[in-house]
């Protein structure tokens, strides 16, 4: 025990020792921003949706530099909005594992230590991998906040990260013991997929009888984010109402949030990853491996058949589960004549039988000339295994819901023009090459003062509702954002 105490004391003394290197850093630094944003929508896809949405966000941070070898940082998120996206009961959420955004959350809290060629970061932090512009299939350690699909943020994770520098190489090792899921759009709100109010359900083999398991399987063909392999744990059946003949019966559907099964918190159930970055003349690349959980929930529906109503009514509970995934990835960036070239590829091996193993990749070219930047990227995902139900012929299917499966066969683009030192305009978007669905985002950015920035934007979705981007075509909006940085 004494030996351990001596070792820890020795390490603290080494970390606090000031080397003889010029540094103008202040030991304490504070900063942050206040942000106000208003969005106006043209349509209301759900009755509960509003046409206007106002949000406030305060993100203060503090940093302490104890020595050249030891420093720490803390930052918080405080939110307010008009759209019931917030969980008002959570004022200082450490984990951010809830379905809704907490009013207050600890965003980052970490300690940085420099030990010879090793940089160690311990605590809640953001870990970003990948080199392409928009779609990074190798970037799986830090989950996303998809409350708004078109403007998503990242959710830092509690982790230990070591970077080892050897000549032109950097080796990264990450261990994240506690899983944080990606925050998905809320049920019955505009960014969640449209759910049917009724459906014609095939009757069972015993005549005019529908059982819950059969109903669940049917729903999973209608809504591809539901797991078709899941069999209801609430068995039940109903007889078709008098007068309904044939092989189908119409039932009313109601959807509700079910339970969330998060992975157990134990040392052997953590997530980990390794990455080798190499710098070579005029290029850089990396190879990575991640063994963790798919941060996007698998939905396991359970159905409850409500009796005694004029028409059969079924309550579908959407339960969320998270299964392990292993990702092998690689990326690179280089130049090709007057063009920049970037690429990224990852193979996803899923533990979840309802999800397909797949190869996802992005490859892009960019060109800068004067005040212009143009960038184009092609992204695709190729399944390497079959999913039992929805892949079968005749399955009705709908649009893939989240970017993990939705960004398929798409061209992403970005054109940026710097108008003056304080103004720029950006046009970016996506075009689905299979279904012709599109996303167009226009953003005007102006520094009003050195601390105040104004952003005016517009987002437009188009295409068939069965396509990934087309399903959001009622969600086009214009936005005004003011950010004061201090």
């Amino acid at each position: 025990m004494r030996l351990w105490i001596s070792l820890v004391r020795g390490m603290i003394l080494v970390l606090l020792a000031q080397p003889s290197v010029t540094s103008a850093e202040e030991p304490w630094q504070f900063g942050g921003f206040f942000e106000g944003m208003a969005q106006g929508y043209r349509r209301r896809p759900h009755d509960a949706d509003a046409r206007a949405f106002v949000m406030g966000h305060w993100q203060p941070w503090g940093q302490v530099i104890l020595s050249q070898r030891l420093s720490g940082r803390v930052s918080l998120d405080v939110w307010a909005n008009t759209h019931h996206e917030l969980d008002g009961d959570r004022w200082l959420d450490i984990d951010q594992r809830g379905l809704r955004r907490p009013v207050g959350a600890l965003r980052e809290l970490y300690l940085d230590a420099k030990l010879g060629p090793v940089d160690l970061r311990l605590g809640k932090q953001q870990i970003r991998w990948g080199r392409t512009d928009t779609f990074n299939p190798t970037d799986n350690v830090t989950p996303s906040d998809y409350l708004n699909i078109a403007a998503h943020e990242r959710l830092p994770v509690p982790a230990a990260k070591a970077d080892v520098y050897v000549a032109g190489a950097r080796f990264e090792a990450v261990w994240a013991p506690r899983f944080i899921p990606t925050r998905l759009p809320l049920l019955h709100q505009r960014w969640f997929p449209r759910l049917p109010a009724s459906a014609k359900v095939p009757t069972g083999p015993l005549g005019q009888v529908v059982d819950a398991a059969r109903l669940t399987r049917f729903l999973s063909t209608l809504l591809p984010f539901l797991d078709p392999a899941w069999v209801s744990r609430l068995p039940g059946s109903f007889e078709a109402p008098p007068g309904s003949l044939g092989e189908e019966v119409e039932v009313e559907l109601a959807f509700d949030e079910g339970g969330v099964s998060l992975p157990a918190f134990s040392l052997d159930n953590g997530q980990w990853g390794l990455r080798w970055n190499q710098r070579v003349p005029q290029a850089e690349f990396s190879v990575s491996y991640f063994d963790g959980f798919d941060a996007i929930a698998s939905f396991r529906p359970t159905t409850m058949i409500l009796r005694g109503l004029p028409r059969p009514r079924v309550l579908v509970r959407l339960n969320r589960e998270y299964r392990r995934v292993r990702v092998v990835g690689a990326d690179f960036a280089s130049g090709w004549g007057p063009l920049g070239i970037r690429g990224e590829v990852a193979y996803f091996a899923q533990d979840d039988p309802a999800r397909r193993d797949r190869v996802a990749f992005a490859a892009g070219l960019d060109r800068t000339w004067g005040d212009w930047l143009a960038l184009v990227e092609y992204v695709d995902q190729i399944p390497t295994s079959r999913r039992p139900a929805t892949d079968r012929p005749g399955a009705t299917g709908g649009a893939p819901v989240f970017p993990n499966e939705g960004l398929r066969s798409m061209i992403l683009y970005r054109i940026e023009r710097t108008i003056s030192p304080s103004q720029s305009v950006e046009l970016k978007g996506a075009i689905g090459t299979r279904h012709g669905d599109t996303l167009v985002q226009l953003l005007y950015n102006r520094a009003v003062t050195d601390r105040l920035r104004l952003k005016l934007g517009g987002v437009l979705f188009a295409g068939p509702r069965t396509a990934y981007l087309g399903q959001y075509r009622d969600n086009g909006y214009v936005s005004v954002e003011l950010r004061y940085t201090f």
Partner: protein
């Protein structure tokens, strides 16, 4: 004397016939290179650092303020430089690392702390503005003297002081946005005080140094101005806290240090 004259005439005739530079031009080139070497020698230090207070003025007269810290080490053409913004708050921690190489293009990385990512600046991005200033990424490089062809054009008065006027053309035309530069070297302190940067033989920008003070025996400009003639904008830098020959840790000019972000 006759033999000497004949030799000169034959050499001139051969030079014209073969399209080679004349003796007069060769002399002008040699003299210009000699001047530039002398400027370099006078400014030579092992390492350097300063604090910069920037004013970026757009064509409407709107002024934006920024601050950065600069650290540099090594000699022209093979130097390393790290620039880190300290203000305004929204760009605090943004850094640019430049590694200049004598025989190949410089490498540059930009680190953005908000997304905790560093990004290699590709060669084709050299003409892009550096963080909203009138400097481009290429302007932040420090190229070797030998990478240019020089010609001494004239000796003229510049703001009341005698100056050499030198034309410089970067040899690797693919690796620059500029067709040529006109350089003015003040003769009394042998320091570059003005550079006009030409694109497609049109004057595109003018870089000017002023407020010269001697720091640790080195004549040092405490005011730098880059004027963009095309955009009508100007960036001015007030320089303070200049230090020369300071020690740096081995990894100060590294991606590792760039990623520290503050």
């Amino acid at each position: 004397m006759r033999r000497c004259l004949a030799y000169i005439l034959i050499t001139l005739a051969l030079s014209l016939a073969l399209g080679r530079p004349s003796l007069v031009r060769v002399d002008a080139m040699d003299r210009a290179l000699e001047i530039m070497r002398e400027v370099d020698r006078k400014q030579r230090t092992e390492s350097r650092s300063y604090d910069g207070a920037l004013e970026v003025i757009d064509n409407r007269g709107t002024v934006r303020h920024k601050r950065w810290q600069f650290w540099g080490e090594g000699q022209r053409g093979e130097s390393k430089a790290l620039v880190r913004f300290t203000a305004p708050p929204e760009v605090r921690g943004v850094g640019l690392l430049t590694l200049n190489h004598p025989s190949r293009a410089a490498e540059q990385w930009l680190y953005t702390p908000a997304i905790q990512r560093d990004r290699r600046i590709a060669p084709q991005e050299k003409s892009a503005r550096f963080m909203g200033t009138d400097f481009t990424n290429e302007d932040m490089e420090d190229r070797s003297l030998e990478d240019y062809d020089y010609a001494l054009l004239a000796q003229e008065d510049l703001e009341g002081r005698a100056a050499y006027k030198i034309k410089a053309v970067y040899k690797d035309r693919k690796d620059t946005q500029y067709s040529h530069l006109l350089i003015w070297v003040r003769q009394d302190i042998m320091a570059t005080t003005r550079i006009a940067l030409y694109r497609d033989d049109k004057r595109s920008k003018v870089l000017r140094w002023d407020d010269w003070q001697e720091v640790q025996g080195v004549w040092t400009a405490h005011f730098v101005e880059m004027k963009d003639m095309t955009r009508g904008s100007t960036t001015r830098i007030r320089i303070s806290n200049v230090k020369y020959n300071i020690p740096f840790a081995d990894d100060w000019f590294s991606l590792r240090n760039l990623r520290k972000g503050s």
